[in-house]
Symmetry: C2
Subunit: 377 residues, 2 copies
């Protein structure tokens, strides 16, 4: 077996919370890490140099989208995603599984794979575990994901079937994975909201010895309590010397919840999506910049934020450009929102190193809930 | 009289072409200069720091737009445009005259001013020379413009009436202009395509002794020959020690034509507007990045361009993001297109200093026409 293209160095633990270094061929990631999502080989409204400026250390791109457009063959011809999108830092691609279910129209699913129609033009395509790996090898990310089946997470029988299939597919992905010296394949723990299934899934995948593990099928509508319990079930079963990735999670609250339960990696479209709708993430909650309240507000979006936007622009200016539908509104809000989450991961990391993570988490959650309480009045 | 807040230093002449330095309170502008247009206090899709990166030395903002939204009083409350939009370099505002005619619906025009309806909500407003100056003083740009009347430039009687009124309004603007120590007021030469009117307009305004002079009413549909002839009539009548500004002009060809006839300053929405429609300016003509031709084209937009975009991205990538309607397409094409024109002004400046402007102009125009000829085949 060839040497893994990534290695994880655990630096500090504070309770279940971990601070570490994830070494990749495109640089070292400090964990916990939040990965901005660059669906179509662009983090929407943010240039790669602006990503560097906000200290993004990992970005995610979507296999399903890039397979359809421009085509993974085109990306491969251009030397892979890093060169194609001019981002020289670490990249992770998902397997396409989630998008096949959420965006495409599924025509047929069987043990071999999924036939679906493109959300763009209705054309028919088939993804199998082998195909998902082949596409991801063409894209060339540092971290790639096993092809999994999503299912209604609240039905135990359905969750079991999907989980079992996910495990069989994980094995096929391992076999198909030939770029082992340059790409690390993560297994995805499934099992819905059921502790027994989640534990079984974690044990099964750990036995397959992946370079890293993701927790999938969360943040899809389940309760906060279910999410916490599943994480508390799964992470203790995962090896301490491998990175752990909670897929699709990206609010301030959920990042804190995840890190408190031993998660190292996160990604989510939320910060850039709400930005395009005129909303700012702040340590005291979300601001809707469309509101007239901000028309003459000289404050930055968040007093504690160190980003370019908060150092230079008032809420009044941002409100003006949001209202005028100017592209710069999406640019500035995306930069700020991403920086808020990245800064949060940096602060959590520092708190873990200092052995005061619990206190930090309590203080930050109270600040968020304080505003929530105020808004209700 | 207080000292002018700007001063122009003529450094070199080569034929009629001039290289100089225009000193302002917000920095020195090297001329010839091309000013990106930031209509609503944002150069569309480009952040101020990206403007600095492409060596933009002057930007333009629109009085009509900012008066309507967010309101010049709001901008004034925030310390003026520089602070409001986080651009610390020189700014020029137009008078609103052009937009009142082209965007608003004019209800009434008389010797005193213009009553018009907002293009946003139909509300009624009145601009007079005094009002245009007051709004521009609130906005706080380094260079402000006299309020002028636009008219059909091909009808001599109509052009004369509009010109005479523009002269009377220029006097009223001078009287209303009280911020003389921090803002420089430019007069605008009008007179349509008629040499005699243009000469009369230039002489009348020069007698009023403005800190700088603009040529208005060009690039509005007249022939290239008319534009050249008008410039050849006007610029020799303008004082050699004051800057000359050709309003609304911004193609590679027209910048060369203008500089060859003694123009120092330009502005135009063209580079950012075509960017949002997926087109790139290049030294060999305009590229439509929607075309399938570029799907696998590894070249930068322009081989001779030094911008961030050309150093990092292929035409294939740009075509992919244009086709996917990603915001980064507008960002990257706007940055590149602006840099193309700014780089052109830098190259013209160097050619003037080296005494080889005529040769430079010929070579660049031939490169453009070469492509035009090819496209016709």
């Amino acid at each position: 077996m060839s040497r893994s293209p990534i290695s994880f160095e655990l630096q500090a633990r504070d309770g279940e919370a971990r601070a570490g270094l994830l070494h990749t061929a495109h640089g070292t990631i400090q964990t916990p890490v939040f990965a901005p999502v660059g669906t179509l080989a662009t983090v929407k409204a943010v240039t790669p140099r602006d990503l560097t400026d906000i200290s993004a250390e990992l970005i995610l791109a979507n296999t399903y989208h890039l397979y359809l457009r421009p085509g993974d063959d085109v990306v491969a011809e251009f030397g892979g995603l890093h060169r194609f999108m001019a981002w020289d830092g670490p990249i992770l691609t998902d397997s396409g599984g989630f998008q096949v279910w959420s965006l495409g129209s599924v025509n047929e699913i069987d043990d071999d794979g999924v036939t679906f129609q493109s959300h763009i033009d209705g054309s028919r395509h088939r993804f199998t575990p082998e195909k998902a790996i082949q596409v991801q090898q063409n894209l060339g990310a540092d971290i790639i994901m096993a092809f999994d089946q999503l299912a209604d997470s609240t039905d135990e029988a359905v969750s079991r079937l999907a989980m079992d299939r996910t495990h069989r597919w994980a094995e096929r992905c391992q076999t198909a994975w030939t770029n082992r010296s340059s790409q690390a394949l993560f297994g995805i723990v499934q099992g819905g909201i059921f502790d027994q299934l989640r534990a079984e899934s974690a044990r099964t995948l750990v036995a397959m010895d992946f370079p890293g593990y993701a927790v999938g099928g969360l943040s899809v509508g389940e309760s906060k309590e279910d999410m916490k319990r599943v994480l508390e079930t799964v992470t203790p079963l995962l090896p301490g010397d491998k990175p752990r990735y909670l897929m699709g999670v990206g609010t301030i609250e959920d990042l804190i919840i995840g890190v408190a339960r031993g998660i190292d990696m996160f990604d989510c479209v939320l910060p850039t999506r709400v930005a395009r709708h005129g909303a700012a993430l702040t340590s005291a909650g979300q601001l809707n910049l469309r509101k007239a309240d901000y028309a003459r507000d000289p404050r930055p979006l968040d007093e504690s934020c160190d980003c370019y936007v908060c150092r230079n622009f008032s809420r009044a200016y941002i409100r003006h450009v949001v209202r005028s539908k100017e592209i710069i509104a999406s640019i500035l809000l995306s930069i700020h929102n991403l920086r808020m989450l990245i800064q949060l991961t940096e602060d959590m990391r520092a708190a873990i190193h200092a052995g005061r993570f619990a206190e930090f988490a309590r203080e930050r959650l109270e600040r968020l809930q304080g505003l929530a309480a105020e808004s209700e009045n």
